[in-house]
Symmetry: D3
Subunit: 249 residues, 6 copies
């Protein structure tokens, strides 16, 4: 069930059978010469919606702009500051928890989001902790590449040149889902350099075409389809386990 | 051109021929017994993407969560506080202006967003004003129902019972674009009451099924299609006029 | 009854007979060659205090600095950023609501304040909405020129050259109330240009003497007196209606 | 020269002969059984405007709501939180400094404001300090009772029962300026108790009628007039000295 | 008892016999040619730990970074902005109050902290005041040089050249406690100039070696020891009096 | 060189030979029945100061209060919210970078700090990224247990029951450095349970004595000494490598 294509009454019904929701969350940022700017929010959206076809889960709208300050020197990147991102995630959580959702899983598509998402969870939990009361709900962060089996499959598909940004696995996923938007380019060097991530202009100086450690030429729609199918299955199990987890009294 | 399906290099190319971008912005909130929770962000997204099919315009990802505090008593609504919303809009603008966009048009789908969006514009302009420097870029807020001719068409289609929330015009648009998600219900009363908008529980007490002044039963995919076609044409003209507007030295 | 000239015990007494208060709110900003910097906060203060002479209403101190970032390139303008303004309005409301005021009407004198004031109301309501409780009080924004009959009278008095900033109507009001502070100047052009409002330096480039669309030479103390008298009567009715409005359980 | 009764062009002229401005700042809060709620902003306003009659000084609009959280249990008190107050003072300063004012003197009427005003000054200075640049302007906080000779006169007028809140000196000043708003009541005890100041309900428990250490019955319009005259003279000298103070290169 | 060297169970035990805690708070900032950067947080830490040797008091970890924006032009200074400082002090207080501490005494070592600490107290109290509830706990600010008898002793030890920054008394205290870190330098002039404190670069222009009004050459470990012993005794009494102070119902 | 025991002139000298500084950062929070509340800030302080004895490095004061909202149900814990923590870390960084430090290494002692510290780095970098300029300095987060070889040694020392909170390794370090503060208790169960970390009351319900997965009884001063010695050596190498790292033009 996709929340944005449902009515409030349908969500009220869903809440009678489940208190769990998944929020795809990513970033809109450069992904090298051939990666789509939307890659990092498209991937978790694609996976979550694929999972939704096979199970009675509820998928929230996609949180599509994340923490991508380091990509701002490349046109098309849109970023929130961490403080803004944390405030916004908090308001999403407070809205959903107010409706009675007790397990909120963020399916994340961008490594640069992780710290801010975790900080946002703590910011929300802190409201309960400082007030000396129970929150009554729990959040979980799950990167799609950490879903059970997915990392293994990606390493098998791309034993070299996977890298950490504009990776063949994420590009393969968008190729599978959006075959009309497959781009091509020559990569020089074939495998991009690696190194630290700091502010935007330093980033662009280190990584002139935007990739980090990756060879996206290895991506293919088929490989993307394999990843999506596996990730979707694992997500359904992950949600079930999270739903079933008891919170201590 | 859809920004999220483009590469950074394609956006860099676009910036050589235009400095204008349109950002669909809305809200995810209850829309009565039959309106989709995503209605207010789907409508501007649908219109902007329709326009993009006929003109060389650049459409940003959709800003899908807005200021909907008054709808929070209905399940599925997700809202930012005004302060969070203003901060987030500001970061979107700063990101886009940093790439060289000089005209940023927000195509809005939610009346409750207007005050916060305008306040966000002023917050960003104030940075330049307090610093005693020119901003170098301009924002414009455009509600889709205010696009040239659109209000007239809606009034013609729905002379009574249009109302102001869960209106037949917005529901018709989603029916046209998402025919698989058309819902039906009995409306009691046929035309919903009207009144002021305050906090969420008062809102629900006033408007038990979520509608304000509307009779959504009048919506049809065909009427929605007419609205979208007209709105898309007007949007293209609006963007052209905004692009052409000279900023004084 | 003017709150600032009352004791706390007198306010406690007032609260036994009424839960309604009016807050004049405006801005301190340039008003063209002849308009007073205080025009926008003086007008609602003048009208509210005139109304107070004829009815048992309670007038709060005037909120005299608003959102005027676009006027900062003219000396004497003092502005809050929207975020600061929203925070401050919120604290005023929370203070007054804490005393038991249930209807708080802001009588506004500055168009540039509207978005931030509405956003501030939503920010305060959101506290209740996110907490799942009723607020127990309501705010209303009322621009003095929107009081019943006032716009009509102004259009009758100034059929051309009313404009939207440094208007003859607002200047007439200050002329009537502060006859010792009437200024004169030649206007070139007689009717100022119109256009969009953005940041301060662009504003000054567009509107070199600060006026927008107006010919303030038409102002006179007599016309101002007519406007004040009518506005004061309408305000009393507006407050009575707001007081009488029932809030749903 | 009163800024709010001037045009921007008149302020531009003033800036050619002086870079100094005085901002009356106070609070709107309970002042015991007979003190006006506006006492703390009326006193500096009265003194500054009296001074303005005798010297070419520029008086800003009055900052009338300050930090009075401890008085919130008495009806009519309006308070900003320190964080809001600091933000607002900062925006006033940034507005004025942007126009070229180099010496901004805040004439304060409320002891509870002192910490927040000083913190606000540091917040503004810190922008320059963190950026490694000179501010180019300076602020000074001056409580009216600390103006040269004023404390001595007050001690002479009220050797006992002056106290620290709802003092006979501040009430005398409002009696002199606003003879139509003189209130009377029996005081029990004649001299109010003293003690620490914490949150609002504790405050009201300690100081049931709102006074701290004072016997306002000693106030008279004549004594108020003496205080105002002396304070106005001292303020003129204070402003002259502040204007003349050289800032090191 | 030093909190950081205790277990949570030991603190739980302490709370059964006392609800009072002392928090040393200072700043890390330049202290002239010979003063340690840590002087302002070391002094209250030294005094509080000396007091702890003789009485059953609980000493919190030292809050070592304060509001020192004016010292930022000297290497080694670390400063929080007032707004950050206020937020952080608030979280310390909320943490401690949540455990049941009812009397929280901040033993301060830096004059520049005073305004922000007082503002922080008001910010925390305001939460209760705006909510219309009792806080249930109280804070007190105590500068070590204001402890009973300490100012007198310092004036006796250093009748001239005490000054207000990099004073011989504070340097003497660190000399006594940290004899391995005694520095020497020639002072020119022997007694530093005095004047106002504004932003960092102006500060350095006024006070080239960082001192204000002081002659630190007079400091000696012996004098420091005398000050510490006396301050520790006074602190114990101050804490006892604060503990014993009844809060009104 | 310990910054807090140095003068500003000594830091100015240091900056001529190095642009690198290490900031010990931790948390003050419960550490089970026998762990000190200060454990998480003491460990990095102990290691950094041990390293300082053998190499010409500069050690900042310890940032002793971190993000420990989940421990607030245990007395003695002091926590900042993530938003406060991020603001404070930012001001530390801005202060140090303003002095010319180009490499700022945070030696962290608390897992719960990681997300907020990384978010704080991004918040500071974002200022440069949004402004389109280079930052000119870099931050690195290094947990002491991740220093080269340290994790291996800990696993060797404590093959079972190391756990993740109140670990024998961290307790051993404080035992070695503070032999007068070694505590003992019976542990039931000997190895504590593991699980997720959420808000404070849930945490205490899951982990009644505060430990997670650990058996602190295995700690000994000797093992602590081995860890400190190895960590100090690794830290010196880590700082040297960070200093030597070139930043791209």
């Amino acid at each position: 069930m996709l929340l944005h294509l449902s009515t409030w009454a349908e969500v009220a019904q869903f809440l009678k059978r489940s208190r769990t929701i998944v929020v795809p969350i990513g970033s809109n940022e450069q992904h090298g010469p051939t990666g789509l700017l939307g890659t990092d929010w498209l991937c978790p959206e694609i996976i979550a919606r694929e999972a939704e076809k096979t199970a009675d889960i509820l998928v929230a709208p996609t949180f599509n702009i994340g923490m991508a300050q380091h990509h701002l020197a490349f046109p098309g990147t849109i970023s929130l500051r961490p403080s803004t991102f944390i405030a916004a995630i908090g308001d999403w959580i407070r809205s959903l928890a107010g409706h009675g959702f007790e397990k909120i899983l963020f399916l994340n598509g961008h490594g640069g989001n992780i710290a801010s998402i975790e900080a946002a969870f703590s910011e929300v939990y802190a409201e309960a902790s400082f007030a000396g009361r129970r929150a009554g709900f729990a959040m979980k962060l799950c990167n799609w590449w950490d879903l059970e089996g997915v990392g293994e499959l990606a390493r098998e598909q791309f034993p070299t040149g996977h890298g950490s940004h504009a990776t063949p696995s994420e590009i393969a996923i968008t190729q599978w889902a959006l075959p009309g938007s497959i781009k091509s380019a020559d990569y020089t060097p074939q495998i991009a350099p690696t190194g630290p991530i700091r502010e935007a202009l330093e980033f662009r100086a280190r990584y002139p075409d935007g990739r980090i450690g990756s060879d996206p030429a290895q991506a293919s729609p088929d490989k993307g389809g394999e990843l999506v199918k596996l990730a979707a299955q694992s997500l359904v199990r992950e949600l079930a386990a999270f739903s079933d987890e008891a919170m201590p009294k």
